[in-house]
């Protein structure tokens, strides 16, 4: 009685720290406290779970502490070593591990049932199978997402002909097997077939989703991991696991919806993939036969140094070139001369939600300088120079004026309203979505070709000499 009470109270405290922790994450000023609060609540709940007396339990503490030490060590070292540019990869991996953990619990609890050693109620089996299914899909899907983000796997390498039909068949097979496993006589062989197909399905479901859609995939996998944790919570009748899991599921779902909205695409459309391929038929985009104008470092440095306001538009190219600190250096020099410098950040810039904000925060850019889509579009008409660094599709005017374009309708940064447009880019190749960008041929646009970091540091040198 007393121990159950202590356990329940502790878990209640744990739940409250999760909720208030997430609430504090709502503002940059309190976010760090919120994270610490949730972490403390988690630590407290784990401690209570470890040491609360369970009658007749063997405890097996050696196994538990070995696992905690190994996992804690790996987690800590990874977290302090990871580069901010690699954050999408890390989040994918952590996501996958969470899913795998939930799946492991489900399979360990279900195995004795299918081996005929124990009996379970139908609803309990159903929940267990659900946790297993979602956990496994999230695990193998996250691994492939990691491979893609890390550049280990090329999008085209993992796509098969008729991929969407194949996926649909696999999904149906997985669902039929889940029902079979829940209602029919227990059999281990069906369970093993189910495990294999589900793992393959996880891979296959992420396979056709390409580069620019990664923020959606990561959010979606995040939400799946949360759901699997919640489902595993039902196996143990643990309110803490259920609430924690659902909160994570809600976070992932909201981010998924926001990312889809930011690209003006439905989730279904993202999942069936093929952003680039659909667009090539659009044909005339008004860029044929036109050449882009270029600008020299020297001219650009003068233009920037003597303007009143400059807005940088960072994209994934900035992360690839690790150029966030160089941008900041340039910002400092310009600010000394009284130039007002801001950053315009599109919700899907980068490879995960909020990726650019983290990179710029790492470079010590104060967060009030980071403008979101709406704020930026208000500011841009009064901006002297807008500098696009490694971004492409998020500044494409075709999204507003070319109904034939595959990104038509997507909310974009209206950089063409600024007085001068400078685009820093490696080459004239189209962006991840594979769509040509008329902005590069705009009358106000001048291009500066080269690696973002090299270009920016050259520019910084020129500005210093002024």
């Amino acid at each position: 009685m007393k121990t159950t009470f202590i356990l329940n109270i502790s878990y209640l405290i744990g739940v409250l720290t999760f909720v208030f922790g997430l609430r504090l994450l709502g503002s940059p000023d309190t976010a760090r406290k919120g994270n610490t609060l949730a972490a403390l609540g988690m630590g407290f709940s784990v401690l209570v779970t470890l040491f609360i007396p369970i009658t007749g339990a063997a405890n097996n503490y050696v196994w538990i502490f070995a696992g905690l030490l190994i996992g804690g060590g790996i987690g800590w070292l990874t977290a302090i070593r990871v580069q901010m540019t690699a954050m999408p990869q890390l989040v994918s991996v952590l996501n996958g591990l969470g899913g795998a953990c939930a799946a492991l619990l489900a399979i360990t609890e279900l195995l004795p049932l299918y081996q005929g050693e124990i009996q379970m109620g139908t609803s309990q089996i159903g929940i267990g199978i659900f946790a297993l299914l979602i956990g496994l899909v999230s695990f193998s899907g996250s691994l492939l997402a990691y491979g893609k983000l890390q550049g280990l796997v090329n999008d085209s390498q993992v796509q098969l002909p008729y991929h969407n039909i194949l996926n649909l068949i696999m999904l149906i097979a997985v669902l039929v097997l889940s029902v079979l496993l829940t209602v029919s006589d227990p059999s281990t062989s069906i369970l093993y077939v189910f495990l294999v197909i589900t793992l393959i399905y996880g891979f296959s479901f992420v396979a056709p989703i390409g580069g620019a859609d990664m923020p959606v995939v990561i959010s979606l996998l995040n939400s799946l991991t949360g759901l699997s944790a919640a489902a595993a919570g039902f196996i143990y009748q643990s309110q803490l696991m259920i609430v924690g899991g659902i909160l994570v599921g809600a976070a992932g779902t909201i981010l998924t919806i926001l990312m889809c909205n930011a690209m003006n695409r439905s989730l279904f459309n993202v999942i069936i993939g093929g952003f680039g391929s659909a667009g090539s038929a659009a044909g005339s985009d008004g860029t044929e036969g036109k050449t882009a104008k270029t600008i020299t470092n020297n001219d650009l440095s003068i233009l920037l140094y003597y303007s009143q306001s400059v807005v940088f538009v960072p994209g994934y190219g900035l992360a690839v070139a690790q150029a966030q600190k160089t941008v900041k250096e340039l910002e400092d020099l310009l600010e000394k001369n009284g130039v007002d410098v801001k950053y315009a950040i599109h919700p899907v810039a980068g490879r995960m939600p909020g990726h650019m904000n983290v990179l710029l925060a790492e470079a010590d850019v104060p967060y009030p300088k980071l403008l979101d889509l709406e704020e930026a579009n208000d500011v841009l008409p009064n901006t002297d120079v807008v500098v696009v660094v490694g971004a492409n599709d998020v500044v494409n005017p075709a999204a507003e004026d070319n109904p034939g374009s595959p990104i038509y309708g997507m909310p974009v940064l209206q950089v063409w309203n600024a007085k001068n447009i400078i685009v820093l880019k490696r080459s004239m190749s189209p962006g991840y979505a594979g769509i040509q960008n008329p902005l590069f041929f705009h009358e106000k646009t001048k291009m500066l070709f080269g690696d973002a970091k090299n270009s920016l540091s050259e520019l910084t040198k020129e500005v210093k000499n002024l």
Partner: protein, 103 residues
């Protein structure tokens, strides 16, 4: 239908819990601004490591000779702990960088 109604009646508490948690989750999380989306995701990720609790219960209640259960459980503990420790630590590292004014 009969079964469904019985299950509904029996699990009413959990049904309430799920519905209200979903509403609460959407309310709390939709207030998080765009600039904090990455830390939100990694922090939420760490919270999903709460499955560790289940893995601990699993091992504590296993017989010392049930090696399969113990091995799977330990693997679960390792994965869950990486998720929790890695997730909270990296979120903290990121949030530490969000400052209002540079010095």
């Amino acid at each position: 239908m009969e079964n469904f109604m019985v299950a509904f009646n029996q699990n009413l508490f959990f049904i309430y819990l799920i519905i209200f948690t979903i509403i609460l989750g959407f309310e709390v999380i939709s207030k998080v601004p765009t600039i904090l989306h990455t830390p939100l995701m990694s922090g939420a990720n760490a919270i999903s490591g709460v499955v560790l609790i289940g893995a601990i219960i699993l091992i504590r209640t296993a017989e010392p000779t049930e090696y399969l259960r113990l091995s799977l459980g330990v693997l679960g503990i390792v994965l869950g702990t990486i998720n929790i420790v890695g997730g909270f630590k990296v979120t903290d590292r990121m949030l530490e960088m969000f400052k209002k004014k540079a010095k």
